[in-house]
């Protein structure tokens, strides 16, 4: 059954996507990702020598710093201001002091982001190094964590960090039994009973024949890297989310590929 959404989108329709990379001068890799009004900036510094306390030195270590949205002045202006201030401050390398005094919610997002990015990066390439990823929330209009994951992923690509595969994140809202809407706005997120953030590997154009890349009867990109749910939902509702989520991840992967190709054609032109 059709459900009416304020902005007139259909059930599985995503909000307009926009992604631009290499927007920061000092960072080794940076990207800004916006889904509708939700806009997140991500910057990558490193890999630098040395690992933090009680981290495994044989592997690269990923450190995530989550900077929540602060202040009310115009959003784009705040974003540039904050990130620039951040660059200067970052050079002074005080991040663990600020890291320590963040509130609780940021800590959970940081842990989820860190674990997700650790699973997609190839950690054994440069051991005993630390890669710092700074996520700056510019505006939050629902599906904040998935857009942060997408932004961080694109920033890693921009920084040339070796990765097994890209990660594509989507938020599925369970409105009533069996009815799933994708990429909700903040209002829809609060109104609905429960929602689930899902992260899938991006779909690959493989040279091999169609069926060969299947694991237990499912293509690789059906495997869930990260899944975080909020609110109560019947068990099978969760599985109902998986289907549209996977479909959306294919759409997102195509968007990424187009964005990347368009970037490579520019550099080849310039090169």
């Amino acid at each position: 059954m059709e459900v009416h959404r304020e902005d007139g989108r259909s059930q599985n329709q995503l909000r307009p996507l926009a992604c631009s990379r290499n927007i920061l001068h000092r960072a080794h890799g940076s990207a800004s990702w916006s889904q509708g009004d939700t806009k997140v900036l991500a910057a990558v510094y490193g890999p630098k020598a040395g690992t933090k306390k009680n981290e495994n030195p044989e592997k690269a270590c990923i450190e995530v710093i989550w900077k929540p949205k602060t202040g009310q002045i115009g959003d784009f202006l705040t974003s540039l201001l904050i990130v620039l201030a951040f660059e200067v401050w970052y050079a002074g390398n005080f991040q663990n002091i600020l890291h320590w005094c963040l509130g609780k919610p940021e800590k959970e997002y940081e842990m989820i982001l860190k674990r997700t990015l650790e699973s997609i990066c190839i950690l054994t390439v440069n051991p005993n190094t630390t890669t710092s990823i700074i996520v700056q929330v510019v505006n939050d209009d629902g599906a904040l964590l998935p857009s942060a994951i997408n932004a961080a992923c694109m920033a890693l690509v921009d920084a040339g960090i070796p990765m097994k595969h890209l990660a594509v994140a989507i938020c599925c809202c369970v409105a009533k039994t069996g009815y799933v809407i994708l990429d909700p706005t903040k209002l829809e997120e609060q109104k609905t009973k429960a929602f689930a953030y899902l992260v899938f590997p991006n779909s690959v154009h493989s040279v091999l024949p169609e069926g060969s890349l299947r694991v237990e009867g499912e293509p690789i990109e059906n495997g869930i890297i990260t899944s975080v749910t909020h609110g109560i939902m019947p068990v099978d509702d969760y599985f109902y989310c998986l289907e549209p989520g996977r479909a959306a991840s294919v759409k997102l992967s195509d968007f990424l590929r187009r964005n990347l190709q368009q970037q490579s054609t520019d550099s080849s032109k310039a090169g």
């Binding site: 609780k104 842990m111 899944s227 909020h230 969760y238």
Partner: protein, 320 residues
């Protein structure tokens, strides 16, 4: 001075089962015993994979079985409700203290719950007195999300005088011994503490403050909340953490297993088997639908076990 059987007795049984472990097929004499330890410390992953081939774990548990779980209610006398939960050797002490607050304008007849999770320096070598452990705030946030979103407690039951006074339940959970599956044990101890909670009978004294009524013999002033002594818990959430490794699923991992295999899935179901939360933060192994279904099946079975244990503890509580 005779030692008597105290509430914390379950705290100590773990020492025994630790000693029975050992490679099922290792020959008994001491030299291989030492080599086993060295091998375990040097190549932990290969050590574990040798066990997984025969679908058994170093502490002689089959893959799907959780460790021995005990609950002791009423561990702390100075709190209104308290419980000690122990899964394997991971031990959590939860205690609730009730204080009075003036409810906010938007929700005049609702009380409030403040949930905090502490990892004191005694629980593990990594924690130092100055710096709190990184995992503590993350587990605290997950706990408060799970308990509040599970609707186990109807906040309206915590109100005293609508708009003027309501209960603020401070739930503090202390990890006494960290050996893996911290979230499961913490949630279990929180749920047990709530089931043991006794709301004190209070009444309004003359200058508008809520005071314990039987204290100052104000029996003449009728208590504000005479009848509701116990909070009725509707859908109680129970959780199970599993570790995915290649195509094995290990239930209820110990700290060592968590450190070796990094893909952790935590499934929280409530007593009416609704999915409260499914939490898989990254990890090298991708979770396919079949793996998630297995995890949920294991969790359903675990929920039944935990419900039985909780009922025993509560019935035990009523008897003495």
């Amino acid at each position: 001075m005779d030692g008597y059987n105290c509430v914390f007795n379950p705290l100590f049984r773990s020492k025994e089962n630790r000693l029975t472990m050992g490679l099922p097929n290792a020959s008994g004499d001491l030299s291989t015993e030492v080599e086993v330890d060295a091998f375990r410390r040097l190549f932990p992953l290969r050590f574990y994979e040798k066990h997984l081939l025969e679908s058994i774990r170093p502490d002689a548990r089959p893959l799907g079985r959780a460790r021995e779980t005990t609950i002791a209610l009423g561990a702390v006398a100075s709190a209104n409700g308290s419980a000690l939960a122990k899964i394997g050797s991971t031990t959590m002490l939860a205690a609730i203290k009730m204080e009075v607050m003036t409810p906010s304008l938007e929700t005049p007849d609702e009380g409030c719950i403040a949930i905090d999770f502490h990892m004191p320096p005694i629980c593990s070598p990594i924690v130092r007195p100055g710096r709190p452990a990184e995992a503590a705030p993350v587990v605290a946030k997950q706990l408060s999300d799970t308990i509040l979103s599970s609707g186990m407690i109807n906040l309206k039951e915590l109100s005293l005088v609508s708009g003027k006074a309501a209960w603020m339940a401070y739930l503090d959970i202390y990890c006494l011994d960290a050996d893996g599956a911290l979230f499961d044990t913490a949630l279990l101890s929180a749920v047990a503490a709530f089931s043991h909670l006794e709301i004190p009978v209070v009444s309004l004294n003359d200058d508008g403050k809520i005071v314990l009524s039987e204290e100052q013999g104000l029996s003449d002033r009728e208590p504000v909340n005479k009848e509701r002594r116990k909070i009725n818990l509707s859908s109680i959430p129970f959780s199970l953490t599993c570790v995915l490794h290649k195509n094995y699923i290990l239930a209820d991992p110990t700290a060592e297993e968590e450190s070796i295999m990094d893909t952790i899935v935590t499934v929280v179901l409530d007593s009416s088997s609704q999915l409260v939360s499914l939490h898989k933060p990254g990890g090298t192994v991708l979770a396919y639908t079949s793996a998630i279904q297995d995890c949920i099946a294991l969790t359903r079975q675990r929920v039944k076990e935990l419900q039985k244990i909780l009922e025993e503890a509560i019935s035990g509580m009523e008897v003495d």
